[in-house]
Amino acid sequence: MAIVHLPSGLAQFTGGVESVAIDAPRIADMLAELRRRFPQLADQLDDIAVAVDGDIYADPGYQPLRADSDVHLVPRIAGG
Amino acid sequence: MIPGMLSIRYEAPATIADAVKLIQADPDAKILAGGTDLLVQFRAGVRTPSAFVDVKRIPDLVGIAIDRDGLRLGAAVCAAAIAEQAEVRRIWPGLAEAVHLIGSTQIQGRGTVGGNLCNASPAADTTCALLVNGAVCVIAGPNGERTVPVDAFVVGPGQTVLARGELLVAIRVPRPAPRTADAYLRLIPRSEMDIAVVGAAASVTLDAGGTCTAVRVAIGAVAPTARLVPAAAQALVGTKLDESALGAAANAASAAAKPIDDKRGTAAYRRQVAGVLVRRAVKIAAARAENR
């Protein structure tokens, strides 16, 4: 299962949970599962970027996750 | 012409008399020399004249002449044209430095000493150098010509003694006495392009033994107008310009400074640096005088 790490600031929306193991084939499935498990977190996920095994996706979508993927939710970044 | 549409006349008189007629008839007409201040103020909506009176077609205003008495600068001669004169650089190096510091190369191609004086900015680079050289303004008007020393010409920020119908036609700079030389320094944050935060000029006369027999010191951008600092001069006359004398002159300059806080610098900073620059300018002028 992919390990999903949340920014510590979002722990208040997950009852203190800072990382969760999620079995999801794609980023979108993983986010959907997060929304399901932590409804309060939903709004915070609208403008977030997702790092999968080191590659940061500013527009997370249907990119595949590996069973052992290391996933980090991070703020979006605007480049100049 | 479309109603409501902005329209400003452009006049290019060929003689001083015609220019005087124009500005006497219409007080809202503005003399256009280099335009580096006037056109910027116009664009910013600070001034909307009824007419631009371009005086650069008047031969008297665009001439540079050096004779036995000294230098005659037409009021509309651009800075670059002055700086190109080797004789000016040799005889009045400080004045040449000040002229050369007016803005960028491009601005040098437009900006004039006359305009610099008439715009009457406290920070005008040339004013300090003209003050220490005892320069005199030649003014033409309805009642003919009159002359006013530079230190009486500027009466306040943006204000001069020019009356309705009068214009500045030339600046006369007397030849320096033997073993006399000038210098001008200014402080700007960058190396170019800025308005002086502090300016300082000095003209120093030495005797054969290196004692200072006469000196003029002026500071700019630290008071409503650039001004001479007699107290600084007194601290230097009769000395060999040793450190204590220079220190006293610097303190006198700082004391004479009545600066304000603004976007370009704090009052405290200006007061302190005025002294520093006066000390340095006097040293440079003295070294030049020593070689004359």
Partner: protein, 160 residues
């Protein structure tokens, strides 16, 4: 009331109509379609509108259009001759002395004025002469190198 101005631009006798308060920059860009001269600030602080007026470097934004009456104006459009770029233009390309290019015409005109007045400028002389031309892309490094290289190229040409 429009003024009728007769002048010479890039060697060509030229006529145009303008308002009394119109700038030479506006007349060149809008009236005559010579848009190589750029407007970056309209206050004489960026050099993008540099032109030569009777051979003297000036900011076209601080020259009134009617002042051009009977005078001669050189703009960036007037530098290349026939098929040949001016050496300064050529060296700017070879030295990659431009990035976005908006300041480039002003720099090239200002550099021409420099090399006309001083064929062998030092780095310091070049930097101070060009201090009125702002560039935000290059850090000036390749521009200054190009101006010094152009001086060398032009002196060679002159020597031959």
């Amino acid at each position: 009331m429009k003024l009728h101005i007769e002048t010479t631009i890039n060697g060509e006798p030229t006529e145009f109509l303008c308002d009394g308060h119109e700038t030479l920059l506006s007349a060149l860009r809008n009236g005559l379609g010579l848009t190589g001269t750029k407007e970056g600030c309209a206050t004489g602080d960026c050099g993008a509108c540099s032109v030569l007026l009777d051979g003297r470097l000036v900011p076209a934004c601080l020259v009134l259009a009617p002042e051009a009456q009977g005078r001669s104006v050189t703009t960036i459009e007037g530098l290349a001759t026939g098929d040949a770029l001016h050496p300064i233009q050529r060296v700017f390309l070879e030295d990659a002395a431009l990035q976005c290019g908006i300041c480039t015409p002003g720099f090239i005109i200002a550099a021409k004025a420099l090399l006309d007045a001083n064929p062998n400028p030092t780095e310091e002389q070049a930097r101070f002469w060009l201090a009125g031309n702002l560039c935000r892309c290059t850090g000036y490094d390749k521009i200054i190198r190009a101006v010094l290289d152009a001086a060398a190229v032009m002196n060679e040409g002159a020597a031959v």
